[in-house]
Symmetry: C2
Subunit: 385 residues, 2 copies
Amino acid sequence: MLDFNFANPTHILFGKGKIAEIKNKIPAKSRVLITYGGGSVKKNGTLDEVLASLSDHTVFEFSGIEPNPTYETLMKAVEMVHTNSIDFLLAVGGGSVIDGTKFIAAAAVFDGEPWDILVQHGAGVRKALPFGSVLTLPATGSEMNSGAVVTRKSLQAKLAFLSPFVFPVFSVLDPEKTYTLPPRQISNGVVDAFVHIVEQYLTYPVNGKVQDRFAEGLLLTLIEEGPKALETPQDYEVRSNLMWVATLALNGLIGAGVPQDWATHMIGHEITARYGLDHAQTLAVILPSVLTVCKEHKREKLLQYAERVWGIKEGDREQRMNAAIDKTRDFFEQMQVKTRLSDYGIGKDSIPLLLEQLQAHGMIALGEHQDITPDVSKKILEYSL
Amino acid sequence: MLDFNFANPTHILFGKGKIAEIKNKIPAKSRVLITYGGGSVKKNGTLDEVLASLSDHTVFEFSGIEPNPTYETLMKAVEMVHTNSIDFLLAVGGGSVIDGTKFIAAAAVFDGEPWDILVQHGAGVRKALPFGSVLTLPATGSEMNSGAVVTRKSLQAKLAFLSPFVFPVFSVLDPEKTYTLPPRQISNGVVDAFVHIVEQYLTYPVNGKVQDRFAEGLLLTLIEEGPKALETPQDYEVRSNLMWVATLALNGLIGAGVPQDWATHMIGHEITARYGLDHAQTLAVILPSVLTVCKEHKREKLLQYAERVWGIKEGDREQRMNAAIDKTRDFFEQMQVKTRLSDYGIGKDSIPLLLEQLQAHGMIALGEHQDITPDVSKKILEYSL
């Protein structure tokens, strides 16, 4: 096992009706800015439930945080924080709203040009406003981690930052709040969580036995519950398991003490930035290609994955590895997420453009061995057509 | 899945040489009381390493915290805290030292009679001194939870308390620090961690799929690594996995959202209080009896345990359940921990005395269904002879 430091202070409030408890989690005299997206939380009653819980608090609202939240929009919220002396933020939505709120929390008290938070990937963050979240979409894990991804439209750049100051103080996970999600968001959420787990698991063995078992347990649960979430949207048990898996997939625990990859995410971010695909769509396209192109480096873990996650025991090593990659692709397709660039109308002329972007953003040595150079990324993209 | 609230703020510093980092984790102007046990940390160099890291801090020492730490001893440390204006504690040792330090941390600033902390099981605790730990014995999970057990010799009482104020601020887990442990302590630690997991897993199904997979992953790892820890004491990988399993076995995660049992611990505590057996010895005796006597209530989870943890697929339900219980007992024996009261020279005349103690401490409705009445405890004890 590799050495590690691990800490995660976020309080999780899990279950039906837990929104009622948030009034006890936000200091009574706070001036609270509630942040949300396109308004679905307004239509489905979640926002009303939040406002009811905070009826004794001073509350403001900021709406319009988009999927792949933009710097341009978030800076308007930062201005609103300053104008109204806001001292607590509450994100109500999915990963994009929570990610955006993390950026607002850090940028509002940042000593310097806020864009540098992203350029420096969080290194310069020394403080942030406290914030909580009410999660409505199980997917990104943002509700229990300290990372966020923000897009600057004007630069076609999608950059991530990490800082221990942007852990949510609390997050409410009420599985019922996911009942009204469109199927596409459930599909995307399952794929996103699946790929988060794989990026921390399918590297090379370091004898992290617990991390491996936990990752496998999360993957098995997604494989069991994901399709059911599409078939029977109002199954509380299915949604509960999905929600808890997505949170644990990226809260730091399964990645502590093991190598991590993240090449799929980095290449995928460029596809979203350039062509506007959903984040999970890019992952479903890129992951099978990364596993194929990097098969030899990942051999031992791929064989373990084949056996423990997919029950593949027949065939020689090559056959078992290929079968596991095929099963992975089939699972994404079963979840209604297409796995080829061509499925999204993107052809091979995209490749030089995407490689240019990867280079412009310094993504020239990806993967657990930092050996996914632009040449290897090119192969991965060619394999994804 | 059941509703739950979960939070665990403890920072884990895991790996070789991590003791060097504690100087950054304790405020520079703190007056630190280092607490430890019988002196093994002095002999094996761990204490020197701690003192070296804290060479710029003001440091005091309190030694002599015994296995099953006593109220009588801990109150002497509380006095030392007051006399020397201590404002940070650092436990160096195993679960007993850390448990004892939690009590010192709470009692030193408790408004009232400190014994009430235990009588009220922590309900009255409103604050505590901050403290960290350097773990030398993987077993109890105390290094990453908010519970402690303290014995009052004069009353032959062993009581537990829980409070969110007594999470360690940080805990150092350096697997090399376990190399010099006597085999008996490794054996006990593996059994203790195993039973912690089982008490949160082998109840009745609530469809907590992640919790089940995590618990099974921890059990499988203990079964694989436990015997190796006795055979090859200086195997870093084995000790790493053992250490991380024992911490995760009782840090709140696998128990969040599922029923819990704890009858084995409660009955076991009375045996330790009366006859002085090691904590893990009592668990190894009582757990197989609890599983046998409560077999029907635990049927579904016992069958799942049989299949996923022990690979038992042959035979009818009764046979598979019995085989799983036998495997459990065999594992404890393989770990050199005896599983019958008679192995420790305790006969059936002990039963009325132990039942009397259980009743005196209010332990009259144990187990996940609160239906382990004194009559059922009697059966469990008879089965343990």
